[in-house]
C-alpha cells in the first residue's frame, strides 16, 4: 500500500518514510532519529514464548533501525495491547526483558501505556535517537562499483536468533564514524528482500553477489539437511529477521574497513558479498554461472541453488 503520497512533510524533516528511521533536524549539533515498530502474538512470537524474550525483541527491533543509521538511541515509549484476562506476571516479565536491553544501551523507557486488544498481545515500541547533524548513514548513498558487506551470518533466525539478537549499535556507529561507508541499512526481511531497497534508494542500481561469499548461519545449514527443507543459501537470502547490518563502501576502502572492523569487533564476522552495478537487478554468481535473483517468488530459484 502506498502510504507515502498521503503523508505530509515539514521543513524540519531531513528523511521521512523510506529509510530505517526518520531523520529530523533538532539542535544545531545533532539530528533526531525516530522509529516505531510493533510485534504481535501469533506473528512475531508465540503464546508460549518466554515474555522476557518478547520484551527484548520488541525493543531490539527498533534499536536495530537506529543502528542502521549509525545513531545512538536515547529514549523509548511502549504501548501494550493486552487481551482481557491477561496475566500481569507476563507483563512484568516482558518489561524485565525490555529493560535489561534498555539499560545495556542506556535507553530510558519513559512511557508504558496499556490498552485492551482482544485476541492477542501487541507490543508497539517507539524509539528516539540522536546522531551528529547531517551524518545519518542512509540507504541512498550506494555508488556503482561499491563493495557490499554484511555483518554476522544469515538465515535460520526463527530457530531463536529473532528473539535474542543484539542490535548492532556500536557497529553502526563505528561504520558512521569511520567515514568509509556510503550506505547502510539493517536486514529484517532477508538479504534478497532488503538489498533491492538499498539499490532502489540509491537511484535504481543493481548488484552482483558471489554465492560462496554469503555467510550462511550454522542453523540454516543444519536445517537444510532435513527432508524438503529450504536449501541453506536460499534460507540465508530469504528467511528474514536476521537484524544484521548491510552496507557498501568504495572498493579502495574495503580492505581498511575490514581491518578496522576486525580490530574494533573481533567477535563479529563481516563478509564482502559482492559489488554494486549500474545494471539494475540482483544477480548471484556461483560455480554454475550467474543467476538473476527474482524480485519475488523463489520457487524456480530454489530449484537452481
Amino acid at each position: 500500500m502506498a502510504i507515502r503520497p498521503l503523508l505530509t512533510s515539514q521543513p524540519h524533516v531531513v528523511v521521512g518514510l523510506g529509510d530505517d528511521c526518520a531523520v529530523l533536524k533538532a539542535g544545531p549539533d545533532f539530528d533526531l532519529l525516530l522509529k516505531t515498530d510493533a510485534v504481535v502474538e501469533g506473528i512475531h512470537f508465540l503464546p508460549e514464548t518466554d515474555p522476557e524474550r518478547v520484551g527484548h525483541k520488541a525493543l531490539a527491533r527498533p534499536l536495530s533501525d537506529i543502528a542502521a543509521m549509525g545513531g545512538t538511541p536515547t529514549s523509548a515509549v511502549v504501548t501494550l495491547g493486552l487481551p482481557p484476562g491477561f496475566d500481569p506476571e507476563r507483563v512484568l516479565a516482558l518489561y524485565r526483558g525490555m529493560n535489561r536491553l534498555a539499560v545495556q544501551h542506556q535507553v530510558a523507557v519513559v512511557g508504558g501505556e496499556t490498552t485492551t486488544n482482544p485476541g492477542q498481545w501487541l507490543v508497539s515500541v517507539t524509539v528516539v535517537g540522536s546522531i551528529p547533524r547531517g551524518q545519518a548513514l542512509l540507504r541512498s548513498g550506494a555508488q556503482v562499483g561499491d563493495a557490499i558487506f554484511v555483518s554476522g551470518e544469515l538465515g535460520g533466525s526463527l530457530a531463536g536468533h529473532h528473539l535474542d539478537f543484539e542490535p548492532r549499535l556500536a557497529e553502526g556507529r563505528w561504520l558512521r564514524s569511520c567515514g568509509w561507508a556510503h550506505s547502510l541499512m539493517d536486514i529484517s526481511d532477508g538479504l534478497a528482500g532488503d538489498l533491492p531497497h538499498l539499490l532502489a534508494a540509491s537511484g535504481g542500481l543493481g548488484a552482483e553477489l558471489l554465492g560462496s561469499a554469503i555467510p550462511v548461519s550454522r542453523v540454516a545449514r543444519v536445517r537444510a539437511l532435513e527432508p524438503k527443507a529450504k536449501p541453506a543459501l536460499l534460507a540465508a537470502l530469504t528467511d528474514g529477521e536476521d537484524f544484521e547490518l548491510l552496507w557498501t563502501c568504495a572498493p579502495k576502502d574495503a580492505v581498511r574497513l575490514l581491518d578496522g572492523w576486525k580490530s574494533a569487533f573481533p567477535t563479529v564476522p563481516i563478509h564482502c558479498i559482492g559489488r554494486v552495478t549500474e545494471q539494475p537487478g540482483v544477480r548471484i554468481r556461483d560455480s554454475r554461472g550467474i543467476q538473476q535473483l527474482p524480485a519475488r517468488g523463489y520457487e524456480h530459484f530454489s530449484a537452481h541453488v
Copy 2:
C-alpha cells in the same frame, strides 16, 4: 499495574512516566516531549465509525498530551494493526483524517508501519514535540489556595466530541507563556478521574469544587433527560474523553488569566471551578452542602447529585 518501578531512567530524563508526556533534555534551548497512545476498534471507535474521524482521533489524543505540557508537536509516527482482509480504502481514509489534523498543526507524519492484528484495527501513534528548556507545565505544580480552571465543557463526549475534538495546542502554549499557570494536564478520564492525579502529583493536596461552576456540555444535559440516564453533573465529572485542559493558578492571578484568555481565545469558554486545599480528597459544594467525591464507584454519589 505498577509498571513504573520496572522502568529505568537516564540522566537526560526530566520527567518520565506520570505526566501527560515524558520530558527529555535535548538541546541547550529546548526539551523534547514524547508521548505514545493507541486507539482500538470496538473500544475507542466502532467498526462503522468513519475512518477519517478515527485517524483524526488517533492523532488528536497524543496532541492533546503535548498541549497539556504547553508544548509544540513536530513529528509523529504511526503503527497500524490491521486484520487480514482489511479494506485499503479505509486505511487511506484514516490517513486523510490524520493528515488533515497534522497539516493544521504543522506536524510531519514521518512513519507509517503496518502489521497484522487479527480481530480488530489498532492505531498506535507516537508524537514528538518541543518546548523551551525547563518550561514544561507539569501536573506537579499546584499549590494550596490555587484556583482550578477548565477549558470548554465536560461530559457526553461519546455522542461525537471524542472523534472530532480539537487538541488545545494554542491554548496550552498560551498558558505556558502567560506565566500564571502553576500546573496543567488534559482531561481524558473525566474530571473526577484526572483531578486527583494532578493533586497527588502536587504532593497529596485536595480540592473543593463548586458544583454549579462545573461547565456541563449541552449534550450531557440533553442526555440526562432520558430515562435512567446519568445526571448531567455526574456525566460532566465522569464521562471521559473530554480532552479539555485543567489547570491551576494563584488566586491573585485568576482574574487577569481569565481576561487574557478571553482576549486570546474568545470562542473557547473557561471556568474557574474551585480551589486547591491542603486537605486531601475532592469535595463538591452545592446548595445541599458539601459532598466527598469518591475515589472510585459513583453509585452512591450518583444518587446524591
